[in-house]
């Protein structure tokens, strides 16, 4: 049998980038694979156990591979407002916004988080941008290309910092034991600098799992100490270190799009259903006209799909209705929470109504699927 990517061992002469936690993962059973040029743990042991530990207690994720950019200078806000689909100029200290970067034809170049970073009270605020690892170089180049009319500086600070996600119903309890700050008072999509585990960290109430929790950014050289303190406490309350495979099953259950699957340069924000991440009124930014035009046209729709049985639809599987191909699966997995296969994909708008019965062609055999609401999983439900 072909074992796929799971047995791809990184050769000794590898030129892959390492996060500050790389050696910890390798020493703790992490199966290291190439992800966007980084040697990352895809799993430590069981994907399902890591998934369930995050849903029932707490999961720790090394997400240091994600790009961390600092956009600085007197016109940083105006500059970003000319690029991002969502305005940042009115952001308040501590606020974080999800946004998209589009090209002139509304193709999605990346989905990003924008952070207002008050680094020096005397100067105008800078902005942090967290971008996908696989898009980092493209986005840095894209930003550089558009700086001509702005007094702005773009610094790729990815390697100076580590980033750790702490996610799950016990995440806040775990983090509270390591900081004097009352984390429960922090609102979702806000962040602040605090001492945590004895280290200065930027802590935000954000995540990619559908659970409560935080993401931490700290100095690269301090990350191992922070991680080890988190890990010891997580293990004691039923938590686990979690690899990229379970990060994917968690985000898929939470209905969150992933760049390279639900998002790409061939997909516009309207199809992706990311209207909340677009402000059109009174603004000008790259891709605005094309997004407006897309909003007036009939578009394919991103939908959630549920299947019976156990065969799992994967990326690229055709979606049919009455024998006619009307869409394609972009992500699919066996859902550890629900015990059946789930998928996301794009279908013709006429086939996107909740409850619509469709067929998915999985390696030559058709399987009945139903359009269901996204997200599949909502915490507390």
């Amino acid at each position: 049998m072909a074992l796929g990517t799971q047995t791809v061992r990184i050769p000794a002469m590898s030129t892959l980038a390492h996060t500050p936690l790389h050696d910890w993962h390798a020493a703790h059973g992490g199966r290291m694979v190439d992800f966007a040029g980084w040697s990352m743990p895809v799993q430590y042991a069981s994907i399902v156990k890591e998934h369930q530990a995050t849903r029932s207690a707490v999961g720790l994720f090394d997400i240091s591979h994600m790009g961390r950019l600092l956009i600085d200078g007197p016109e940083a806000a105006q500059f970003l407002d000319s690029i991002l689909t969502r305005s940042v100029a009115d952001m308040q200290p501590q606020q974080i916004r999800y946004s998209l970067v589009c090209n002139a034809s509304a193709g999605i170049l990346d989905d990003v988080l924008a952070y207002l970073a008050v680094i020096d009270e005397e100067k105008p605020p800078g902005y942090g941008l967290v971008v996908n690892a696989g898009n980092r170089e493209k986005i840095v180049a894209w930003l550089q290309q558009h700086t001509a009319n702005y007094s702005v500086e773009i610094n790729d600070r990815t390697n100076d910092y580590a980033m750790i996600a702490v996610q799950g119903p016990k995440a806040i309890e775990l983090l509270d034991s390591l900081t004097a700050v009352e984390l429960t008072s922090m609102r979702y999509y806000t962040g602040q600098i605090m001492e945590l585990a004895g280290v200065e960290c930027f802590v935000s109430r954000t995540g990619y799992t559908g659970e409560d929790g935080c993401e931490l950014i700290c100095g690269a050289d301090l990350a191992l100490g922070v991680w080890e303190q988190l890990y010891d406490r997580a293990i004691a309350i039923g938590g686990a270190a979690v690899g990229l495979a379970a990060r994917d099953t968690l985000r898929l259950e939470a209905g969150m799009p992933l760049y390279g699957h639900e998002l790409s340069e061939a997909i516009n924000p309207v199809e992706a259903g990311l209207d909340f991440a677009i402000n059109l009124r009174g603004r000008q930014f790259v891709g605005k006209e094309a997004i407006e035009a897309a909003g007036k046209a009939t578009q394919p729709v991103r939908v959630g799909l549920q299947l019976e049985g156990r065969r799992v639809p994967r990326e690229g599987c055709p979606i049919l209705r009455s024998g006619e191909e009307i869409g394609t699966v972009t992500s699919g997995t066996y859902s550890p929470t629900f015990g059946h296969p789930i998928a996301m994909g794009y279908v013709k708008s006429t086939a996107s109504a909740l409850g619509t019965a469709l067929d998915i062609d999985i390696r030559g055999k058709q399987h009945t699927a139903k359009v269901v609401p996204l997200p599949f999983y909502e915490r507390g439900k």
């Binding site: 049998m1 074992l3 799971q6 799993q43 994907i47 799992v312 997995t333 066996y334």
Partner: protein, 131 residues
């Protein structure tokens, strides 16, 4: 069965050949290494009894949370039995891969493929090199 006595395909299937009423019958399963590498199995599609299989062609599939993998037959023949208990007891593949976790029995019509198989020591070496 003792893993030391089996033959292995590079694609991680094991095979045991026995003579029965003048015919050569191959029992086929998946190596412990393969099961450990796949983890989190969710599904196996068994072949059909009576199905013809060709050497080095996929004839059934096993699916984990992360990916689906084809199972190959090293020899040509006809499926004469399948392990019906397996789909509802996938953990058997991990707990007893060389016994209760067998997948199919194939009546061999052409055993030329046997010459390409590895003995246990050579297969172990291949797995270690993959690490």
């Amino acid at each position: 069965m003792k893993p030391e006595t089996l033959l292995y395909a590079k694609t991680h299937e094991w095979i045991a050949v026995a003579d029965k009423d003048g015919a050569k019958i191959a029992t086929l399963g998946l190596s412990a290494f393969a099961i450990e590498a796949l983890t989190d199995l969710v599904y196996i599609e068994l072949p059909q009894v009576g199905q013809q299989v060709n050497a080095e062609q996929p004839f059934c599939e096993v699916e984990s949370v992360k990916a689906v993998s084809d199972v190959y037959s090293p020899i040509e023949g006809e499926v004469i039995a399948v392990n019906d208990a397996l789909p509802d007891n996938l953990e058997t593949l991990g707990s007893d891969p060389y016994g209760a976790g067998w997948v199919a029995k194939i009546k061999i019509t052409d055993d030329a493929g046997l010459a390409n198989l590895l003995d246990h020591a050579a297969y172990q070496k291949q797995c270690e090199e993959a690490h």
